[in-house]
């Protein structure tokens, strides 16, 4: 086993400063969403604001890229606690599982295909049109 030479106090890719930036934008998003009575949750408004912020600034700080990457790398983990909540709905699911299962499978497949095929078709149409801007 090699002994790590790098001190734990040296720079790691995740930065406290940029975690704070993400939280500040989430907070701004919540404030804007509530303030204007938008039907969107704060984090989504926060995402839009950060995106606009990056466009105005015209460049992505390395630290923000690394911090976002660190969080998004394990995006799937974040859904586990809510998913375990299935235990709270055992009764309804026991009663209605055929309808719910059918609806979930059919609708998920239909949505994936509708979106994917629409984008592929529009993109082809755009290329044929020669404009490239569809």
């Amino acid at each position: 086993m090699a002994i790590a030479k790098r001190s734990v106090f040296e720079d790691s890719p995740m930065s406290l400063g940029f975690i704070t930036v993400l939280l500040v934008f989430q907070l701004l998003g919540e404030a804007v969403s509530r303030g204007f009575g938008l039907p969107l949750p704060g984090p989504v408004v926060g995402m839009a604001l950060l995106f606009l912020g990056l466009m105005v600034r015209g460049g992505l700080p390395d630290g923000l890229r690394d911090t976002a990457g660190g969080i998004l790398k394990h995006l799937a983990l974040l859904f586990v606690p809510a998913g375990v909540g299935v235990v709270m709905h055992v009764h309804l699911l026991e009663r209605e599982w055929p309808a719910i299962a059918t609806a979930l499978v059919a609708s998920t497949a239909a949505t994936i295909l509708a979106t994917g095929l629409a984008m592929a078709a529009l993109d082809r149409a755009g290329k044929r049109g020669g404009a490239g801007d569809v």
């Binding site: 975690i19 993400l22 939280l23 934008f25 989430q26 039907p39 969107l40 949750p41 704060g42 984090p43 989504v44 995402m47 950060l50 990056l54 466009m55 992505l60 923000l64 911090t67 976002a68 969080i71 998004l72 394990h74 995006l75 799937a76 983990l77 974040l78 586990v80 606690p81 809510a82 998913g83 375990v84 909540g85 299935v86 235990v87 709270m88 709905h89 309804l92 009663r95 209605e96 055929p98 309808a99 059918t102 609806a103 979930l104 499978v105 609708s107 998920t108 497949a109 239909a110 949505t111 994936i112 295909l113 979106t115 994917g116 095929l117 984008m119 529009l122 993109d123 755009g126 801007d133």
Partner: protein
């Protein structure tokens, strides 16, 4: 000895530490299994972790509230992670700009398809109104879906579960389905995964490639927006 064990257990199960640690262990176990089996779709890490944790709750007799006391710290990170999706999106700015209209139209098509087919199928199979209203926003990211469900009269916590099941279904079968229908373009694949299967689809899309991941994150945000606006109108057609 067994008394001592019971005492330690009683103490641990009352602290947030147990739910939090169990979640991390279950997820990493799922990840290990997934990679070990060459990413066999049914061993999706989220699915494996959820099944393992439910088994853990059953065996230990711990209730969901006590579990969530700890797991909420992970759940909370959904907020900053959603904000962080602006970063891959910004990195794809040029690609997004070039096909902005196609993206918008495709996501609206996806949003309407998701709501109409979910509620329609549930209705045909004789589901209750609560189930139909809870399933309507199933393709939208958890925080938005729960908000929509609350406004329209569904059960938000049931919606959260249906949203996650939808994500798992898409993560498990989405790539196969897109292959079968010859959708090869990474942008189209990403949009499809994000519009149908929100964050779990996006996590899966990032495995397909960075472009697919960024477009999936974009579709997830846009679909949340589209569905929040369109769903009340669409539900009016059913009820």
């Amino acid at each position: 000895m067994s008394d001592g064990f019971t005492e330690i257990w009683a103490y641990l199960s009352a602290t947030p530490l147990l739910g939090l640690t169990a979640t991390l262990i279950a997820y990493q176990g799922g990840l290990w299994l997934y990679n070990r089996t060459n990413r066999f779709a049914l061993f999706n890490p989220v699915l494996v972790a959820i099944v393992a944790l439910i088994a853990f709750l059953k065996v230990s007799g711990m209730n969901y509230e006590a579990y969530f006391d700890g797991a909420q710290f992970i759940h909370f990170m959904l907020g900053p992670a959603t904000v962080a999706l602006a970063v891959p999106l910004y990195q794809q700015l040029e690609r997004v700009r070039r096909s902005a209209l196609a993206i918008l139209v495709s996501v609206v098509v996806g949003s309407v398809t998701a709501v109409v087919t979910a509620v329609g199928a549930a209705w045909m199979m004789g589901a209750s109104k609560t189930a139909m209203l809870s399933i309507a926003p199933k393709s939208v990211t958890t925080p938005i879906a729960m908000g929509i469900s609350e406004i329209t009269g569904g059960a938000p916590s049931l919606t959260a579960v249906l949203v996650i099941l939808t994500g798992i279904l898409g993560a498990v079968g989405g790539a196969w389905l897109l292959d079968a229908f010859g959708v090869k373009d990474e942008r189209a694949r990403g949009l499809a995964m994000g519009a149908a299967c929100h964050g779990i689809g996006t996590a899966r899309a990032f495995q397909m490639g960075e472009v697919a991941g960024a477009f999936s994150g974009l579709a997830m945000g846009l679909n949340g927006l589209a569905t929040a606006v369109l769903l009340p109108v669409l539900l009016h057609l059913f009820f």
